[in-house]
């Protein structure tokens, strides 16, 4: 029971910092391809002019404290404010070659399990491309796709689904 409460609390926290969770019957398909360099995600082309020192990652008030990117249904496109968020992490990785992350891709429970593994992989790859565009090195990033196997939120409704369609940046 304690565990359940913790999950709910986490979900509420996540929901609070996420304005982009929405159901999308006809989300734009990610047709950008996964060829490195073919980044055409909105705003990705502009490099960010910030610099982070190594300790910035431990600052709870920094934008870097947000490490979850949410996606639309059946889409692997990084949208809205999440583009900016990923760019900040890219800058951090770029400035701190010793830092490394594990990028975990996830989906909601809808759809088939292996397709969801593939979809979650593409979500993580989209984030990886954005990070690299800011100067992060491929060797700093390990991608793993869990598909629908590790939901952040249990439940069979739009709220749970929105919280589960995500990529998580895990600093190591």
């Amino acid at each position: 029971m304690k565990n359940y409460l913790l999950v709910v609390l986490m979900a509420m926290t996540l929901a609070a910092c996420d304005q982009n969770v929405k159901p999308d019957a006809d989300a734009a398909d990610d047709s950008s391809g996964a060829q490195v360099g073919a980044v055409d995600d909105a705003g990705a082309g502009q490099a960010l002019s910030v610099s982070y020192d190594e300790a910035a990652i431990n600052d709870a008030n920094s934008v870097l404290a947000s490490r979850v990117i949410y996606f639309d249904f059946d889409s692997s496109k990084v949208t809205g404010d999440f583009v900016e968020l990923v760019k900040h992490h890219g800058k951090y990785l770029s400035a701190n070659a010793g830092a490394s992350i594990r990028l975990e891709g996830h989906t909601d429970e809808r759809g088939t399990r292996e397709y969801n593994v593939a979809l979650a992989d593409r979500r993580a790859q989209s984030v990886k491309r954005l990070l690299m565009f800011q100067g992060a090195s491929s060797s700093q990033i390990t991608v793993i796709s869990y598909g629908e196997e590790k939901p952040a939120q249990l439940g069979h409704d739009e709220e749970a689904w929105g919280l589960n369609r995500r990529a998580e940046l895990v600093y190591q």
């Binding site: 029971m1 913790l6 996964a34 759809g111 397709y115 593939a118 992989d121 869990y146 196997e149 069979h156």
Partner: protein, 432 residues
């Protein structure tokens, strides 16, 4: 609308774990053939509850969806020998077929199971066999009898003397984690065997054609890897651990190759891994998602899911380098995760529409599609070895369960787990 025409529950006997499958027939026995299975007489020993051979046969026949076994209380007589059978009285109550038999204990762990199948209308014996068994193989022998009866009366190769595998997930309040189990059991949920326990996900178990090995994906080392696991020797081999996705293993019909999904070259694509030479052949090459390959029974082509048209659809591709895929599904924007019947004529898959995911059947000769389940979160459909049933994962009262539906959608049964979640069923072709 659920029709509880016939409901019975079998409590599973479980040697290696706590997980127990309960099977209920939930929908539709109309059009099934009335059959009487007379309780078998035990001689030379005492019947034990876990191996009530005639009850196992009756429940298999009911689960096939083709037969309605008479309840014991409606039996007009309990004949033990052929000469005791009085056909007119069975005709009177409208029974088409009759099964009689017995179990004879010949030595401490030696049994002989004998049975006869009669055509009541003609007053003729259709089958008569006896099988040797040990105490531990009695249930298996009972399933074999069911397979013989089904084959004789329907022409379908029986599939009850087989194993099903499935993945269970249990939330552990103590550790805040989930425990994943890969298990195998008889087709009626009995004799559950624990093959793998992990704190990381286990996915996509697939039986080898000889029914001895399972290929599956395990995240036990923090990454996705494909293993092959012999269920009799417990020997395990790591066969695929490329960078990125290692997923969706599917055995070739001759058991020498695995179709798998890898993302090592940038995108999820389909490859064939030769299990003997360990060589890898890339089959698809597209920037979209290609995954969930299954083999046509002739081994010459694969059916897979691809998002190359924008949304997941089913495609067929020859097993050859640079082959061009042919699109199979056009209706709707989510058609995925195919399984192919053993005659190669029918494909079952997941069809998603308006947030509801249902199992559908595609008839390849006509291109017609029939939806056979109610959703809303049905997945992992797989044909039984004889193609008459589809086993799939579903939700019942918010809890993951396995269900089986006849290919025509008329007959349904539920395999619920008494503890934890159950998912990703796979049905072996034969039992060793």
């Amino acid at each position: 609308m659920m029709r509880y025409l016939l409901t019975f529950i079998l409590l599973g006997f479980c040697s290696a774990s706590q997980a127990v499958l309960n099977i209920e027939i939930t929908e539709g026995v109309e059009g099934s053939l009335p059959i009487a299975v007379v309780p078998f007489q035990w001689t030379g020993g005492v019947k034990f509850a876990n191996a009530d051979v005639s009850a196992i046969i009756a429940s298999d026949l009911a689960r096939s969806g083709k037969f309605s076994p008479l309840p014991n209380k409606d039996l007009v007589a309990y004949p033990k020998q052929p000469e005791d059978v009085h056909f007119p009285s069975w005709r009177m109550i409208g029974v088409d077929h009759l099964v009689i038999g017995g179990v004879k204990q010949e030595a401490p762990d030696q049994y002989l199971v004998h049975f006869r199948l009669f055509d009541v209308l003609k007053g003729e014996q259709l089958l008569g066999y006896s099988f040797a068994a040990t105490r531990s193989s009695l249930r298996s022998v009972a399933h074999r009898v069911s397979d013989h009866i089904i084959k004789s009366l329907t022409g379908l190769t029986g599939a009850f003397d087989a194993r099903i595998s499935y993945v269970t997930a249990r939330q552990s309040p103590a550790t805040k984690g989930v425990t994943y189990l890969l298990q195998a059991a008889d087709t009626d949920g009995f004799n559950a065997q624990n093959l793998l326990t992990s704190s990381e996900p286990i996915m996509s178990p697939a039986w080898s054609p000889d029914g001895e090995q399972l290929a599956y994906v395990s995240f036990e080392h923090g990454i996705a890897e494909i293993f092959i696991h012999n269920i009799y020797t417990a020997k395990r081999e790591l066969v695929s651990k490329f960078k990125g996705i290692n997923g969706a293993p599917a055995w070739s019909p001759d058991g020498t190759r695995l179709a798998i999904t890898l993302s090592k070259d940038g995108n999820p694509d389909i490859y064939i891994l030769d299990l003997v030479s360990k060589s890898l052949t890339r089959i698809t090459k597209h920037w979209s998602i290609d995954t969930e390959a299954v083999w046509m029974p002739d081994g010459k082509s694969l059916v897979f899911t691809s998002s190359r048209s924008g949304k997941p659809q089913l495609y067929q591709i020859a097993v050859a380098v640079n082959a061009r895929p042919k699109r199979l599904t056009f209706e709707g924007n989510y058609n995925a995760n195919a399984s192919i019947s053993s005659d190669g004529k029918t494909v079952c898959f997941v069809k998603g529409e308006n947030n509801s995911f249902k199992v559908a059947v595609l008839y390849l000769d006509t291109g017609l599609i029939q939806i056979v389940t109610d959703g809303p979160l049905d997945e992992s459909p797989e044909f039984s070895p004889n193609g008459s049933m589809i086993l799939y994962a579903s939700q019942y009262k918010g809890k993951p369960v396995l269900e089986a539906v006849s290919t025509d959608g008329r007959h349904k049964q539920r395999l619920g787990l008494s503890d934890g979640e159950v998912r990703e069923p796979a049905w072996s072709a034969v039992k060793k």
